[in-house]
């Protein structure tokens, strides 16, 4: 058969081949159309996941100011020497090939080096060489840990690597001056929280610590996100208004290469600082309260009577919040533990209010019509209830005592009688009228709810048995089961001053309109004016010569006050408490205060007048100098 035989042109199998080609082309076209025109979205997400990285930039934290705009908490710059790993990739490559050559010379022919291990060795050596540069200039010596480097590569590749952090101003100056201009080492300025008055109002302001942010709304689950550590408020205002203080987080979106190094910044939303948080605190009053408290265990509070704005809120002992940022050193933490300084005693602990509570017992009696202001009670220095004797603090007896005088002298016998006549339920009801059975609701975290207004129902349900008249007698003078916070007593003083039953305290500055129209949610006390006048008169007399609170007196300022002394069991020991509540000026009250001081040692003799009185006087003095000029 000849190879050049004419082949019949109508070979049907050739036509079949054409069909095969058509099918193959159509299959490819359909696959392509599916991928590029229909299923594109899925792949677009895959592409974004691998090529996009987001960096979240926490905004500078907002300042916290006092009511006159004076800085209470702000930021100060924190300088560190950093390096962007992208800038030193050529160094990594050079060092790696150098190491590889070195290792290959030592290895036998058929042995293979551990490439990954070498890679890390090279990277660490390069980073350490830059650390050494910084150290040489700053005069330090530090070793860069491999673990930190690996972690940085895996989790924070796009962020600057900290070579040396928290440079002091001296080191900063030397680095700025001596670092060669072409050096990849940069000085990175971060900010850290700063409390210019150190321990001032520490419990109100709180403090922040650095945390890895979670659940930021800017975090896109499809994009790998890097974040600088954010400052999180741990307590106080820093915690209560954390979100508000944090400001607007900024974000950068970067396109990266397959190794994860930056290629191009695609977008930038700069972070924004929120406007400052203006508190109701008055720096001068706060300073006065704290210096008078003198780091003793206790609390001192001043409230604006009309608006409920807290002008001062001190708790002792305090701590310097600057020592707690950016993180809490163990030694500092232990020191504060030992002093008991973590606690904000103004709101976080209930105490028996002692004689300051007698004002409430009096009002319960008046409302119940079992007590009248002109009724006199004879105090022989003690009173028998059942088969128990209850003593007056004046064992010699106060003689004939009416309502005003009972307040002035703080006569116990008068209140045993008044309380027993009114009955425990009337007293408890009156306390609830004044809102003392609930939290004050001030905008600070961790206000305790474990305060107690005792009555027979409470006692029974608490498993303490049935109610005895002696319990009523104890409650009448603010002892027994009663537990109230200094802030509750401060609001009580403000309510009493305003002639209303409730005061809603706030730690934020109010506008004049808000302050004038603020609704505290209570009602008028609505007891006969003459009877209330007797109570106010007694309070004024108490701060006058011959009164229990005379040490709170300020010449030229008419003050109404009530002292108190109470016993309190802490750590199994009896601690004496000194109280003072009051307000001024008595004819047009503006400021209400509450002072509580714990005894330092068990059994230490404290009296409301002599221990808490001087603290109150400092507050009134400062108030008078500042507001009554």
């Amino acid at each position: 058969m000849n190879a050049f035989d004419i082949h019949r042109g109508d070979n049907p199998r050739i036509r079949l081949l054409l069909l095969l080609i058509a099918v193959a082309s159509v299959v490819l076209l359909m696959g392509l159309a599916w991928q590029q025109l229909i299923a594109g979205r899925v792949y677009l997400e895959m592409e974004q996941r691998q090529t996009l990285r987001q960096i979240l930039l926490p905004g500078p934290r907002a300042d916290i100011l006092d009511r006159e705009g004076r800085l209470l908490a702000g930021n100060r710059p924190l300088f560190s020497a950093v390096i962007y790993l992208d800038d030193i990739r050529p160094d990594f490559r050079r060092e790696y090939s150098r190491l590889l050559r070195e290792v290959r010379q030592q290895l036998a022919d058929n042995e293979l080096p551990d490439y990954a291990e070498l890679q890390w060795q090279a990277r660490l050596a390069v980073v350490q060489s830059y650390v050494d540069q910084v150290d040489a200039i700053a005069g330090r010596q530090t070793e860069f840990p491999l673990r930190t480097l690996i972690r940085h590569f895996n989790e924070r590749l796009l962020l600057p690597l900290n070579l040396v952090s928290d440079l002091n101003s001296n080191e900063y100056a030397r680095l700025i001056e001596q670092l060669p201009t072409q050096s990849p080492i940069q000085i990175h300025a971060d900010s850290t929280r700063f409390y210019p008055h150190h321990s001032l109002a520490a419990h109100v302001l709180g403090f922040v610590t650095l945390e890895d942010p979670v659940d930021d709304p800017l975090m896109d689950p499809n994009i790998k996100t890097f974040t600088f550590q954010a400052k999180r408020g741990r307590t106080g205002l820093e915690r209560a208004f954390d979100e508000r203080l944090q400001g607007q987080t900024g974000a950068e979106v970067w396109r990266v290469d397959p190794l994860g190094f930056q290629d191009l910044r695609l977008s930038l939303i700069p972070p924004r600082q929120s406007p400052a948080l203006i508190t109701s605190l008055d720096l001068d009053l706060q300073k006065a309260a704290e210096s008078a408290l003198d780091n003793r265990r206790g609390a001192a509070i001043a409230i604006d009577v009309r608006s409920g704005e807290v002008l001062a809120m001190a708790s002792g002992p305090g701590y310097d919040a600057n020592r707690l940022t950016p993180f809490i050193p163990r030694s500092v933490s232990e020191e504060i533990d030992a002093s008991g300084g973590w606690l904000n005693r103004a709101i976080q602990l209930g105490y028996p209010p002692g004689s300051t509570f007698k004002l409430l017992t009096a009002m319960a009696g008046l409302r119940n019509e079992t007590l009248f202001e002109q009724d006199e009670v004879h105090c022989p220095g003690l009173h028998r209830v059942g088969n128990r004797l209850f003593y007056c603090h004046n064992r010699a007896g106060c003689g004939m005592v009416d309502l005003a005088r009972s307040v002035q002298l703080s006569c116990n016998v008068y209140y045993y009688v008044a309380g027993l006549n009114a009955g425990i339920n009337a007293i408890a009801a009156e306390a609830r009228r004044f809102g003392l059975d609930r939290r004050t609701g001030i905008e600070l975290p961790f206000e305790t709810g474990r305060t107690i207004i005792p009555d027979p129902d409470w006692k029974r349900s608490d498993g303490r048995g049935s109610w005895f008249p002696g319990d009523t007698a104890n409650t009448s003078i603010g002892q027994g089961f009663l537990l109230l916070t200094p802030m509750q007593m401060a609001t009580f003083a403000a309510s009493l001053a305003r002639g209303e039953t409730r005061t809603k305290p706030t730690i934020l500055a109010l506008s004049p309109e808000e302050a004038a129209t603020r609704d505290h949610g209570g009602e008028r006390i609505s007891l006969p004016a003459s009877e209330m006048a007797a109570i106010y008169a007694g309070m004024e007399l108490a701060v006058a010569p011959g009164g229990t609170g005379r040490m709170a007196a300020v010449p030229g300022l008419r003050i109404g006050g009530k002292t108190g002394t109470a016993q309190f069991r802490a750590d199994g020991q009896n601690i004496n408490l000194a109280w003072f509540i009051g307000f001024a000026p008595i004819d047009d009250p503006h400021i209400a205060i509450c002072v509580l001081i714990e005894g330092e040692r068990p059994g230490q003799a404290l009296a409301g007048g002599s221990t808490a009185g001087p603290v109150a006087r400092r507050l009134f003095e400062t108030y008078k100098e500042k507001y009554l000029r």
């Binding site: 058969m1 190879a3 050049f4 035989d5 004419i6 082949h7 042109g9 070979n11 199998r13 050739i14 036509r15 079949l16 081949l17 054409l18 095969l20 080609i21 058509a22 193959a24 082309s25 299959v27 490819l28 076209l29 696959g31 392509l32 159309a33 991928q35 590029q36 025109l37 299923a39 594109g40 899925v42 792949y43 677009l44 895959m46 592409e47 691998q50 090529t51 396109r255 990266v256 290469d257 397959p258 290629d263």
Partner: protein, 396 residues
Amino acid sequence: MRSDWVNPLCILVLSLLGVVFIYSAQFSFGGGAWRMQLVWIALGWVAYSMVASIDYKIWLTYAHWVYFAGIIGLLLVQTPLGVEMMGARRWINLKVLYFQPTEAAKIGTLIMAASLLARSKLGTVRESLSILILLGLIFLLPMGLIFLQPDLGSTLVFPPMLFALLFVSRLSQRFFVTTFAVFSLFIAIVAVDINGYARHLQAVAEQPTAAERTALGAYQDRSLLPMRDYQRTRILTFVAPRLIDPSGTGASWNANQAKISAATGGLTGKGLLQGTQAQLGYLPKAVAHNDFIYSVIAEETGFIGSALVIALFGLMVANGIRIAALARDRFGMQLATGVSVLFLVHFFINIGMTVGITPITGLPLPFLSYGGSFVLSCFVLQGFIQSVYRHRRVYA
């Protein structure tokens, strides 16, 4: 003598597109392969013109010489003249450049088979048994040598070519039915083998220590099929990517990146030099300008550009078959068919890789992928088609 203009036009457009996108694929890494590609294309046109102007019938006389030259080339690869790169010996070092004898062997085998079939009349299997055995040997020799390099992809382009030649030679239908059955059986055996390999991998992964893992050894030492484990891994990567590479960053990286490249191109593409997959190196730079050039085109020109490429290939291959039908003698018909089917296999498998319907085999895309020997062989093969067109005997 009239020439065919369809295929040269397709070749021109495709080869210039190739240069542009080789340039783009290497743009951010500063490679200069596009210049070399221009040189190869220029040489390719010279070779094309020469082959086209020579009457193809001359190859009937020299077919066995071309064939043996290719076989000798494949054998040289295994001598010290051969060059090993990335674990494969596919090149001969000619001092000035590396030459890939696989390409020469493809041409030689095609001519050899076509000349043999042109001289014989095929009918039933029994009648043509001796021819079939001879053909089988002609194909198995280069396939075996190429498989040993190893180069699975290039090995696999031979069988379709053979079957196409037998098909148009009017071999009885029963042969193809039987072959299909045998092929299916073969696939089944491979499937069982791959399944065993997958279980082996799982067993290895469950061993707690490195020593115990190495103690289990390699699957290739136990299997009866002459496949290497990396080839099994590739097949497994295609059928069950999750098993081999759960995170998509290992064995299935290339396949995934190729698909992402094409898919994110959309309708109109990201624009020349704007394809992030290629520019940032997600498509590995070692393969972006050769095996994965189509992904670059798909990413940067979108559906419009990549569909055009498919259309050009479809047109070129179909026109080749048309020319096979126009040929007035069996040798010309065989030659044009063989060449066209070879191109069909290359273009279908390579583009299918980007579209995700064929496994990653390392087959380049004719005229678009970078590569000297391959570009030259493509031009020579298309030269045969032109020769068949120009030198067909016209009666009446």
